[in-house]
Amino acid sequence: MRRWFLPLLRRDLLLAWQGGGLWLPLIFLLLVASLYPFAVGPDARLLAASGGGMLWIAALLAALLPVERLITPDRDSGLFDQLLLRGVSDEMIALAKLAAHWLSFGPPLMLAVLPASALLKLDADTILRLELGLAIGTPALAALGVLVAALTAGLRSAGALAGLLALPLAIPVLIFGAGSLHPGSGAAIKFLAAITLLLVAITPIAAGAALRSGRE
C-alpha cells in the first residue's frame, strides 16, 4: 500500500498546488467574508452573531469548488485503469482521493478562517469553536465532494449536478456545524463528529462502486 498510496497522495497535492487548488478555498473564503459586511451592513453585533454560520456556508461551497477536477480527469486519462491493474481497488482509489482532497482544502480553509473572522468581528470563543467545528467537519465536506464527484464523473454539466446532489447530504453538516458555534453546544459537536465518521466511512465504498459501474 505504501508503494502507491503515498505517491498518489503526493501527486494529487502537487497538482492541487500547481493548479491553484490550495489558494482557491482561501481566496474564496476571504472574498465571501469581505463581501458579507457590505450586504448586511456594518453592524458589529449582527456580523458577530451571523458571521460564523456564514463562514460555514462558505466552507461548504469551497469544498465543492474543485469537484469537477477531483475524479473526471484521472478517470478519462486512464490513471485509474493503470492503478486497478496494479492491484489497487476502486475503494482505495476513492480513499486516496478523499485524503488528498481534504489535505488540499481543509487546512488552508482553517487558516483562512482567522482573517475572515477578524473581518466579521467574531469573538475569540466563537473563533475557537468555529475552528474546532471545521477541524471535525471538513473531512465530511471532503468526503461529500469526492462522493458526488465520483457519482457524476463523465456526465455533462457534472459540476451543477454535483452541487444538487451534495445539497441534501450537506445540510446535516451545516446544521450541526453552525449549531456548534453557540456556547455549551457539546451535543452539536458530537453529532458533527458522527456525521463525519459516517460520510468518511461510506464515501470510499460508495464512490468505489460508482467508479466501477462507470467503467462498464
Binding site: P7, Q82, L85, R86, G87, E216
Partner: protein, 179 residues
C-alpha cells in the same frame, strides 16, 4: 453483449493477436482480461500480473515526461536504470524534460509503450500498440515484444493491422463474435 463463445489459452512465452475491424470488441476483450470490466458469463484465469497499454496516456500533462514515467516506474518497483533503458528503447530520452502535453501522437504512444516496458509484469496487454507509430518506432516495438516473449513473458495484442512480430496464435474476432 459484445461477444460469446470465446475461448483462448496462452502459456508463458507465447503471444496472441486479436484481429478484427473497428468495433469488433478487441478493446473490450483486453479490458475484460485485465479485469477492468466484468465478465458476466464464463471464466478468466490469470496467473501473473498484467500490464495494459491502451490509448490512454495516464500521465500528467504538466509534468516532465521523465517525472511522469518515473511515477509509474516507482509504483511498479522497477529497478534503477530500467526507466532510462525503456525511454532509450523508444527514443524518448531527447524528450525527457518536455512537459507531457507537448508530445505528439506518436510520441505519446511511445511514452505509453515505455511505461509498459518498465513494468516487471509478465503479461502484456496491448491495445492497438502500433497506432501512430513511425517505421522506426514500430521496429522498436517489434524488438521489445520479441525480447519479452523470449524472457518467458506473454503478450496479448489487439490490432487492426499486422504488427512486426510473429504471433503464436491469431484470434479473428470477426468469426467468433456474436453481436
Amino acid at each position: 453483449m459484445v461477444f460469446a463463445g470465446l475461448s483462448l489459452t496462452l502459456d508463458a512465452g507465447q503471444s496472441l493477436l486479436a484481429r478484427g475491424p473497428n468495433g469488433a470488441g478487441k478493446s473490450s476483450l483486453l479490458r475484460m482480461l485485465a479485469g477492468l470490466i466484468p465478465c458476466h458469463h464464463g471464466r478468466i484465469e490469470r496467473q501473473g500480473a498484467m500490464v495494459l497499454a491502451d490509448e490512454n496516456l495516464a500521465l500528467d500533462g504538466n509534468s516532465r515526461l521523465k517525472d511522469a514515467l518515473a511515477f509509474w516506474a516507482h509504483m511498479d518497483g522497477a529497478h534503477a536504470g530500467a526507466l532510462e533503458e525503456a525511454m532509450d528503447h523508444f527514443a524518448l530520452l531527447r524528450l525527457a524534460d518536455l512537459p507531457v502535453r507537448m508530445l505528439s501522437t506518436g510520441q505519446r504512444k511511445r511514452a505509453i509503450l515505455a511505461r509498459l516496458l518498465v513494468s516487471p509484469a509478465p503479461i502484456w496487454l496491448l491495445d492497438e500498440p502500433g497506432n501512430g507509430l513511425d517505421a522506426a518506432s514500430l521496429e522498436a516495438l517489434g524488438t521489445a515484444m520479441a525480447r519479452h516473449v523470449g524472457k518467458g513473458g506473454a503478450i496479448i495484442a489487439a490490432s487492426h493491422f499486422d504488427l512486426p512480430h510473429h504471433f503464436d496464435q491469431i484470434l479473428d474476432l470477426r468469426e467468433s463474435s456474436a453481436a
